[in-house]
C-alpha cells in the first residue's frame, strides 16, 4: 500500500483502498466476501457484478442526513473517510438472526403477499408487521439532507449515452459534422470496457485513446460528462441525466452533491453495451459466485484477484478471456465448464469440459468451497473458492424501450435487440449487435437457483407461479415480484423468460418481455426535487398588502399559494380567541378585511350581457348600471362549481368576482367558454385579479365610515359607486359576506397601503379568515371548496329561486337528468348543537352512532355574539328534514355532537341588517 491509500470503514472495521477502486473492489481487495443479506430470505450475499446492475452488494453509505441506503458497492468509488454499512441484518452481518428465515423459506413462497391479501384482513395485519421487519432494504435517513441538488437544462444536437468505443466514435463523428454534442458515462472513467479488456485502438492503448477522443470532443465544443447516468428517455428525445458531483455520502466541496439535467436532444445515440447473464444453479447467489466479466474487471482494472482456485462456467467464448486473465494474475483455473458440445474451447489450453453445466455450489457465508457440475451426464465436484459464470449477454435496451422503442429478437445472439424507435433514437455498438450465443442460459436446477437475486426469486418460484396459473410475463412479474427490485431485474429477467417459455412450450420472444420504465438506475429523490424544497417546494403569492399584514405579525394561512392573515392576535390571544374578538367587532361595530385575492374579471363589449348570462346561472341583463348581484356558475353537467358577484359598471362593462381558490380554474373556464362556445360574440375579458386590491369593510358602523371616507352617501346594498378614498379612485360596492351592512372597496393595487391605512384610521378592526369563517357560517354563506364542492346543483344548494328562468346558461340542457330527481341527493342545510359541545368539522351525519353516513359537516362555527355551536353541511334530502335530530360523528377524531337540522341562515335570515 502506498501513500495514496484511502481509508474507509465497512461495518465499523477500518479498511484501506487504492485510488480508483470501487467499494466492491476494495472489499474484495481486503478479502471481504460477505457484503449483505438478501431481501426476503436473508441469505448471505457477496458481490456479483462490477457495474450498476449489481443486485447483491447493496450498502448504506454516509452518516446523518447524508446517509444513502441501497447504494451499490460496485457503483461507488471509495473516498477518504467513506463509512459503509451492511444492510438488512441483525444483530450483525455475520450472525444474522433473520437468516433463520431460510429454514422457513417454504412459508414465504412466491405470491405470498397475494395469498395473504386474500386471507382474512386480521391475518394480513399480523403478517404485515412481521414481513416489514424481516424483509427490507436499508432504512431511509431520518435527518434532513444537508446538501443541495442542482438542476440544469440543456439542448444539443446529439446526445450519446455510453463512452465505450462505439459511443466515443459516434460522438467524435458528430462533433466533426458540426453538431453540438453531449456524451455521458455513468462510470468515473471513460470506456470502462477498455479497462477490463485493454487493447489498442487506432494504434493507441485503449484507455489513452479514449482520453484523446474525449479531449477532441471537448476541443470541438462538445461536453463529456462522467459519473452521469442517463436515467430516463422520453418523447421527442427528452432525456434526464443524473450527475454525481461527489460520491454518495461524501461531503461536497461547494454544497452541491448532484446535478440533475433535463436535456432535449436532436438525436440520441445509445451506446449502452451489454451486461452479462448469470447461470442458474443451486446456491448461485453465494459469496464467491461472480459474473465472468466482473471477475476480469476486478483483475485487469482494479488489480484485485477475487479467488485463487477458480471454476469458470460458460455458455460462450467470452469467459475464456476471464480464464486467461486469472491465469495471468497467478490464479489457478481448476476447470472451464462449457455448456456447448465439443470441440468448443478445446484449443484454449484450459481444462475444458464440454456439455458441462454447474449444478450446486457448496459453501456458506464466507464463500464457495466447491462446485458440483454435471459433465454431460456424470457429476463431478471441483474444489474452488471462486466461480466465474457467463450465461451470455443482454443488450441494455432500457432507454430505447422507455421511449417507446420496439424490440427485435436476435436469434444468433439469443437476445432482444433494439428494433424500430418511435423517436430519433438509434443504438450502436454491442447493444445493437451482441455477440452470438447458443442459448439464453440453461435453467436446469430449480431449488435455491436464483434468477432475481435482489428480490429473492428462484427458478422454483417461477415454476410455482406457473403451476398456479400466472403464465403471462406480466402476471408472473407481479406474482413473484420478479424484476421489481431497484435493479429492475437487469441480470435475471432473461433466465426467467427462458424458464417460462420452456414451460409454455414457446420461444422466448413469444413469451415477451415486461416494459422497462425510468429510471434506468435509481435516482436520488433530492435530485428530482432540486432546489424546490421546504418553503420553496411551491410558489408563494403575496397580496399587495402583504408587508402591511406582516408588520402586524398575524397568524398566516396558506390559501392555495397565497399568504393570507388568518387572525391578528392581540397579546397572548389564541387563534380562536382572536378570531372571535374580530368577528364580534364586525357584528357590533365595524371591521376590515383584505379580500384582494378574490378572482376578478373585467368583461366588456356589446355582447357582454349575453356572454355573462351563459357563464352565470343568474340573470345579469336585468341589472341597471351601478347595480350588482350575487351569482354562481355551473359546469356543463349543471353542477355549481363557483360563485361570486357581478357588477354593471357601465352599460357594456362588468366586473365579475369569484372565489380565490378557483381563480385560475375560472380564468381558464371563461376563456374556454369565450373561445369554444361563444366564438361569435363581441366580448372581451381580462383577468384583473392582481391589478385591483380589495378591502371589505363590514359592520353596523360601516356605512358611516364609508360616508366619511368618500364624502358622499354610501351606496345602498348591491349598488356600486365611483369614489375616492385617500385620493385614490375606487369602486365602492355595497356587498356583504358577513351578514352585516358591508362594502367592498376595489382600487389600483399600487395604492393598497394608503387606502388600507385611511380605512383603519376610522377605527375599523382588522379581521382575518378565521373571523370571516365564523361570520359567513353563521349567516349561511357558502364557500367554494367545502360547500360548493362541484357535486350539487343550484337547487340543492338552496339557490334555486335565483336561477335564470330564461335558461341559456351553461348546464341548462343537462339539468333534467333523471339522477337529479332522486330525493336522496344531498342538499345544503344548517345544523345546531343540541347538547352543547362543538360540532366537529368534516364529521359525518348519522342517525345513530355506527349508522350509515347521510351527509357531512362542511363548516363548523358558532353564534358569534350569543355562543353555541352551529354548522353547515350537506345532507341527503336535507331541505325537507329541518327539525330532525342527528349525530355529527367523527370516528377518526372520536368526536360527536347531537345536532338539529335547520335552515343554513342562522343570522338575520330576512337580511334586515343590510339596510341603514
Amino acid at each position: 500500500m502506498n501513500a495514496a491509500t484511502i481509508n474507509f470503514t465497512f461495518d465499523g472495521k477500518a479498511l484501506r483502498a487504492r485510488p480508483g477502486q470501487t467499494l466492491a473492489a476494495a472489499l474484495l481487495d481486503n478479502g471481504t466476501k460477505l457484503v449483505g443479506r438478501s431481501f426476503k430470505y436473508h441469505r448471505p450475499r457477496g458481490i456479483l457484478s462490477a457495474g450498476v446492475e449489481e443486485p447483491n452488494a447493496l450498502v448504506t453509505v454516509g452518516t446523518g442526513g447524508r446517509t444513502e441506503p441501497n447504494t451499490r458497492a460496485t457503483d461507488l468509488f471509495v473516498y477518504e473517510g467513506l463509512v459503509a454499512t451492511s444492510q438488512n441484518r441483525w444483530p450483525s452481518l455475520s450472525s444474522d438472526l433473520g437468516s433463520a428465515l431460510q429454514l422457513v423459506a417454504k412459508a414465504l413462497p412466491a405470491g405470498f403477499y397475494y395469498k395473504t391479501f386474500f386471507g382474512p384482513p386480521k391475518l394480513w395485519l399480523f403478517y404485515e408487521k412481521f414481513i416489514r421487519r424481516a424483509a427490507g432494504l436499508g432504512p431511509a435517513p431520518t435527518e434532513i439532507d444537508p446538501d443541495r441538488y442542482a438542476t440544469r437544462a440543456a439542448f444539443c444536437d446529439v446526445l450519446v449515452v455510453g463512452s465505450g468505443p462505439a459511443g466515443l466514435i459516434a460522438a467524435r463523428d458528430a462533433v466533426h459534422a458540426g453538431k453540438k454534442v453531449i456524451l455521458v458515462e455513468q462510470d468515473a472513467k471513460l470506456a470502462p470496457s477498455l479497462l477490463r479488456d485493454p487493447h489498442e485502438i487506432e494504434s493507441k492503448p485503449g484507455a489513452a485513446w479514449a482520453e484523446d477522443v474525449a479531449a477532441e470532443i471537448r476541443a470541438n465544443g462538445g461536453k463529456v460528462l462522467t459519473r452521469t447516468s442517463a436515467s430516463g428517455l422520453w418523447d421527442d428525445q427528452f432525456i434526464c441525466l443524473s450527475e454525481k458531483l461527489v460520491e454518495p455520502g461524501q461531503v461536497p466541496a461547494n454544497g452541491f452533491t448532484q446535478r440533475y439535467w433535463h436535456v432535449r436532444a436532436g438525436e440520441v445515440v445509445l451506446a449502452t453495451g451489454v451486461i452479462e447473464r448469470p447461470l442458474t444453479f443451486a446456491n448461485n447467489d453465494r459469496p464467491g459466485v461472480m459474473l465472468s466479466q466482473a471477475v476480469r474487471t476486478y483483475v485487469n482494472r482494479f488489480g484485485v484477484v477475487p479467488g485463487q482456485r477458480v471454476v469458470v462456467a460458460t455458455t460462450g467464448d467470452d469467459a475464456y478471456l476471464t480464464a486467461q486473465a486469472l491465469r495471468d494474475a497467478g490464479a489457478e483455473v481448476v476447470a472451464v465448464l462449457d455448456s456447448r458440445a465439443a470441440p468448443a474451447g478445446q484449443d484454449s489450453g484450459f481444462a475444458v469440459f464440454n456439455s458441462a453445466v454447474p449444478v450446486t455450489a457448496k459453501g456458506g457465508k464466507n464463500g464457495v468451497t466447491a462446485l458440483v457440475a454435471n459433465l454431460g451426464g456424470t457429476e463431478r465436484t471441483f474444489a474452488c473458492d471462486l466461480i466465474a459464470m457467463s450465461g451470455g449477454f443482454t443488450p441494455l435496451v432500457h432507454l430505447h424501450m422507455q421511449a417507446g422503442g420496439k424490440l427485435d429478437w436476435d436469434e444468433a445472439a439469443q437476445a432482444f435487440v433494439p428494433g424500430a424507435s418511435r423517436w430519433n433514437v438509434r443504438t450502436v455498438g454491442l447493444a445493437a449487435e451482441p455477440a452470438p450465443a447458443e442459448t439464453v442460459g440453461a435453467t436446469g436446477v430449480a431449488k435455491q437457483a436464483f434468477v432475481d437475486f435482489q428480490n429473492d426469486v428462484t427458478v422454483a418460484d417461477l415454476d410455482l407461479a406457473w403451476r398456479e396459473g400466472y403464465r403471462s410475463v406480466e402476471h408472473l412479474k407481479r406474482y413473484t415480484t420478479l424484476g421489481m427490485a431497484t435493479d429492475q431485474g437487469k441480470t435475471g429477467n432473461m433466465a426467467a423468460l427462458d424458464r417460462i417459455a420452456r414451460r409454455e412450450g414457446m420461444t422466448v420472444p413469444e413469451a415477451g418481455l415486461t416494459t422497462f420504465r425510468p429510471p434506468h438506475t435509481p435516482v436520488s429523490m433530492g435530485a428530482l426535487a432540486g432546489l424546490a424544497t421546504g418553503e420553496h417546494a411551491q410558489p408563494t403569492r403575496r397580496p399587495a398588502l402583504y408587508d402591511l399584514h406582516a408588520a402586524k405579525d398575524p397568524i398566516w394561512l396558506n390559501a392555495g399559494y397565497w399568504k393570507r392573515p388568518r387572525a391578528y392576535p392581540v397579546g397572548a390571544e389564541t387563534l380562536a380567541q382572536a378570531g372571535l374578538r374580530e368577528a364580534r367587532a364586525v357584528r357590533s361595530s365595524v371591521g376590515m378585511c383584505d379580500v384582494s385575492t378574490l378572482a376578478k374579471f373585467e368583461v366588456q363589449g356589446p355582447d357582454a350581457v349575453q356572454y355573462l348570462e351563459r357563464v352565470c346561472q343568474t340573470s345579469v341583463g336585468k341589472l341597471a348600471v351601478g347595480r350588482g348581484r350575487y351569482t354562481f356558475m355551473a359546469r356543463e353537467d349543471s353542477l355549481v362549481f363557483d360563485d361570486g358577484t357581478v357588477w354593471r359598471l357601465e352599460e357594456n362593462r362588468f366586473l365579475l368576482t369569484s372565489s380565490t381558490g378557483g381563480a385560475s380554474r375560472m380564468a381558464t373556464w371563461l376563456s374556454y367558454v369565450r373561445n369554444h362556445l361563444c366564438a361569435d360574440l363581441k366580448v372581451s375579458l381580462v383577468c384583473v385579479q392582481e391589478h385591483y386590491a380589495a378591502i371589505a369593510v363590514a359592520g353596523p358602523k360601516s356605512s358611516a365610515v364609508m360616508a366619511k371616507l368618500t364624502g358622499a352617501e354610501s351606496p345602498r346594498h348591491m349598488s356600486v359607486v365611483d369614489a375616492r378614498i385617500a385620493g385614490i379612485p375606487a369602486w365602492v360596492m355595497a356587498a356583504s359576506f358577513s351578514g352585516e351592512r358591508a362594502f367592498e372597496v376595489h382600487f389600483d393595487a399600487a395604492h393598497a397601503e394608503a387606502v388600507w391605512n385611511a380605512i383603519e384610521a376610522e377605527g375599523c378592526t382588522p379581521y382575518g379568515l378565521e373571523a370571516m369563517e365564523l361570520l359567513r357560517i353563521e349567516k349561511g354563506h357558502m364557500v367554494v371548496g367545502p360547500d360548493i364542492d362541484g357535486r350539487l346543483t343550484a337547487e340543492e344548494l338552496g339557490l334555486g329561486k335565483m336561477v335564470n328562468k330564461a335558461g341559456g346558461w351553461i348546464g341548462a340542457s343537462t339539468l333534467h337528468r333523471p339522477a337529479f330527481v332522486d330525493p336522496l341527493r344531498k342538499q345544503f342545510v344548517g345544523l345546531e348543537a343540541i347538547d352543547g359541545g362543538s360540532i366537529p368539522e368534516g364529521s359525518m351525519l348519522v342517525r345513530w352512532i355506527g349508522g350509515e353516513a347521510e351527509g357531512h359537516v362542511t363548516g363548523s362555527g358558532l353564534r358569534v355574539l350569543e355562543g353555541g355551536s352551529i354548522a353547515i353541511g350537506h345532507l341527503k334530502g336535507g331541505h325537507k328534514r329541518h327539525g330532525e335530530e342527528l349525530y355529527a360523528y367523527s370516528p377518526t377524531r372520536k368526536q360527536k355532537a347531537k345536532v338539529r337540522v335547520t335552515s343554513p341562515h342562522c343570522y338575520d335570515p330576512a337580511g334586515e341588517r343590510y339596510r341603514d
Binding site: W234, D235, F238, T668, N675, A679, T814, R817
Partner: protein
C-alpha cells in the same frame, strides 16, 4: 416529455401546455339534453387517434385543437382555435 408545436410559439415542451378535453366533449350551448349527456358521459374514447383541445396555458395562452395518436403519441396536426387564437 413531448414537444408540441404551438400555432403561435412553435415547438414547446409539453409542460407548458394543459390538456383540457377531447374535442367531442364540447357541449354546444344549444345542445339537446340527450346530445349533451352523450357528449359528457358517453364518449368514444378510442384507442388510437383522437382530436383534443389543449391550451398553451404557461406560454401564450392560446387554444388549439390537436389530432394525436394516443398510443404512439404522434401528433398529426395542430390547429389554432377560437377568436383569441392568433393568426
Amino acid at each position: 416529455m413531448k414537444l408540441i408545436p404551438c400555432p403561435h410559439c412553435g415547438n414547446r415542451a409539453q409542460a407548458e401546455f394543459v390538456y383540457e378535453r377531447t374535442a367531442d366533449s364540447v357541449v354546444p350551448l344549444d345542445a339537446e339534453p340527450d346530445a349533451a349527456v352523450a357528449a359528457l358521459f358517453a364518449r368514444a374514447n378510442p384507442r388510437g387517434v383522437e382530436e383534443e383541445i389543449w391550451r398553451h396555458t404557461y406560454g401564450c395562452g392560446s387554444w388549439m385543437l390537436i389530432r394525436r395518436d394516443r398510443v404512439s403519441h404522434a401528433i398529426e396536426w395542430v390547429k389554432p382555435l377560437g377568436p383569441e387564437a392568433l393568426p
